[in-house]
Symmetry: C2
Subunit: 355 residues, 2 copies
DNA sequence: TCAGCCAATTTGATTGATCAAATGGCCGAT
DNA sequence: ATCGGCCATTTGATCAATCAAATTGGCTGA
């Protein structure tokens, strides 16, 4: 009979029980944790020591009652779609959780199948004061979420720029806090890198038109090639539109290799992995650069454009905390972060690759 | 000046304000939500209507104060490792979050780089009464987490069986609530399926020895082959050990094809994707079955063994709630769930495949 | 007729922390 | 000697709900 449940054996320490032990009042204990500068060094030490001894931790609920802060940020967890591409959001979420902890906050998940369902979640979570703010992802046209949260005065910040209904990325009428990664800058960087390696016939393996993110990544490649002197018809013949996926990528790359391509800029690592395998099957001549720098890409030695997710998370949280601290609705200037190309074996100069 | 922040414009409805409006007392409002059977139908309706009108939602914090329940379950979010394999835990987490919501609970994330760090998180989260219970994953040898939580009387439940230090899966001295998927049953099912298709030279593409999960999956294949009459030396020659990954998978499959294999049971979808591409490169003759039924596998038409994650989540939550409701430390019999083979193009009978 | 009982509803107390205001001690200035 | 002012600390009130005990009123049966 040694494994008895010690539930409630010792009543959980409270601000009062700690105060009693330390020989001070409740408020002094509270101050030791919240406003240490108000206490005399000796008193502070005494109280902190007692806190240490008893293992006292403030009750989240009681604290929240008085301060009207839950210390929790909500994040919508989507159903898994694509195993590889999903890694980006996984990484984002991990960074978010870790960074939130560093700032004494926590991340709580919710799910929603539609915008309406998500608004219902907003409503529940905020009315119950379960969370203080939201971090939104997966922006889309006519996104009703910003409006709802703004109207209700709930702090939030978005990873992804607001796309207005005509597909341009004009500012939304409600200007809210958002951060995004400059996809065009990423593919442009990749394309320049391949140009420097001596490649001239640089193809793009991208998604079908209509995806904002995808179109933007294509643009970075196209503009860079244009600047390097590749004419429009030639660019057209080096472009391709594929649903995301490894197989799509290798099929497209095979065709483009036949058309004379010697290097590939891809809209995702999935496509790039496929393209890389096609290149290797064809003798290994040809360079490939992916997008997102997923662990899989790293493992395969695939060059890839890395999104600065830690920065994005830092900015998003910073913005949300500023709003919580009463900053006006106007967020610190939203901006595009520049991604960074990570060069690996798939795009290193090999013998005979020079122009 | 239309976009003013309406913060606090109307004071948030409380149990008292709703009571006033409905012409009843606070407690009656509380009962309407928590013990509706105690109220007269007419009173109940009146109160519920008022709640609806005002959009009242109970304050999570105040509720938690009195009930000593946070309504939150904690889950450790790991850093992303493998883009494809990670999808399993992603799916698990999504299912967990969705199912928790259905039961009026929420999932909160925490991170930890080591067991010690995780124990510290346990301590903080439980002392602050931020969470009610934990769902643990990634079990390993000499896992100290069960012990800590048991000693502290914190409800928890584990996805993954307890591995004792000698590598067997003997019961831990502290018997706790766990659920796991019978990997051997999965690979056995896959192997039988391939036998039925007429294959006789069925290879296994698995991980190096030492991973419990991996060894178990190998066992299911080996035992089924043995039962079908394949002798040990032959089995040995059809076995392979690979670090997880697409490339590893295709390399191994190429070698095994040369050794006469006509079908492949794989320890993961990553390996299977690689094996499948090797098979296709070699003319498309040969069947492949993966493990985990990731979205990528589905997209590629790869047969795969699907883990019943929804069931696992349901069981884990059920167990945790039972513990919260004061059930003794003894959990409902822990068990192994049987995975289900999903047959797709990669292992369908094609002309000429029959023995 | 009225005690007794039951069901429906109300009142009082409590949860654990923090805010706001009050207290006590000590200093220098009047 | 006395008083305003300052500092460190304490006391009282409050956040929004629920538990536990008290109340109300209707109905039954001796």
């Amino acid at each position: 009979m040694s494994g008895e449940v010690p539930l409630g054996a010792v009543p959980r320490p409270t601000v009062s029980s700690v105060a009693l032990l330390a020989g001070v009042s409740r408020q002094t204990v509270s101050n030791a944790l919240n406003n240490p500068e108000r206490l005399q060094p000796a008193t502070l030490k005494k109280v902190l020591d007692t806190i240490e001894e008893t293992g006292y931790v403030r009750s989240a609920a009681a604290r929240q009652m008085r301060t009207a802060r839950s210390g929790v940020i909500a994040y919508r967890l989507d159903r898994v779609r694509d195993g590889i591409g999903g890694a980006v959001l996984d990484t984002f979420l991990h960074a978010l959780s870790a960074e939130a902890e560093r700032r004494d906050y926590r991340v709580m998940l919710y799910t929603a199948d539609s915008d309406e369902a998500e608004l219902r979640q907003f409503s529940r979570l905020t009315r119950a004061r379960t969370v203080d703010a939201f971090i939104l992802i997966e922006t889309h046209r006519d996104d009703v979420r910003y409006g709802w949260l703004s109207e209700h005065g709930i702090p939030f910040s978005v990873f992804g720029r607001p796309w207005s209904s005509d597909g341009t990325n004009h500012q939304h009428s409600l200007n809210h806090a958002w951060i995004d990664v400059d996809g065009a800058a990423g593919t442009a960087q990749a394309t320049r890198h391949l140009l420097e390696l001596g490649h001239r016939e640089i193809a793009f393996v991208g998604w079908p038109h209509g995806s904002e993110t995808g179109d933007e990544r294509r643009r970075g490649w196209a503009e860079t090639l244009a600047r390097a002197g590749t004419d429009a018809p030639r660019r057209q013949s080096l472009d391709s539109w594929q649903p995301d996926g490894i197989l799509s990528g290798s099929n497209a790359a095979r065709r483009l290799l036949d058309a004379g391509a010697t290097a590939f800029v891809c809209a995702s690592d999935s496509l790039a992995i496929g393209a890389y395998s096609a290149v290797q099957a064809a003798g290994g001549q040809g360079a490939v650069v992916g997008f997102d720098d997923t662990p899989t890409a790293a493992a395969l030695g695939l060059s890839s454009v890395r999104q600065p997710l830690d920065e994005a998370v830092g900015w998003a949280l910073g913005s949300v905390f500023a709003q919580l601290d009463g900053a006006p609705g106007v967020p610190g200037e939203p901006s595009l972060l520049t991604p960074q190309l990570v060069v690996r074996a798939s795009s290193r100069p090999v013998r005979g690759t020079t122009a």
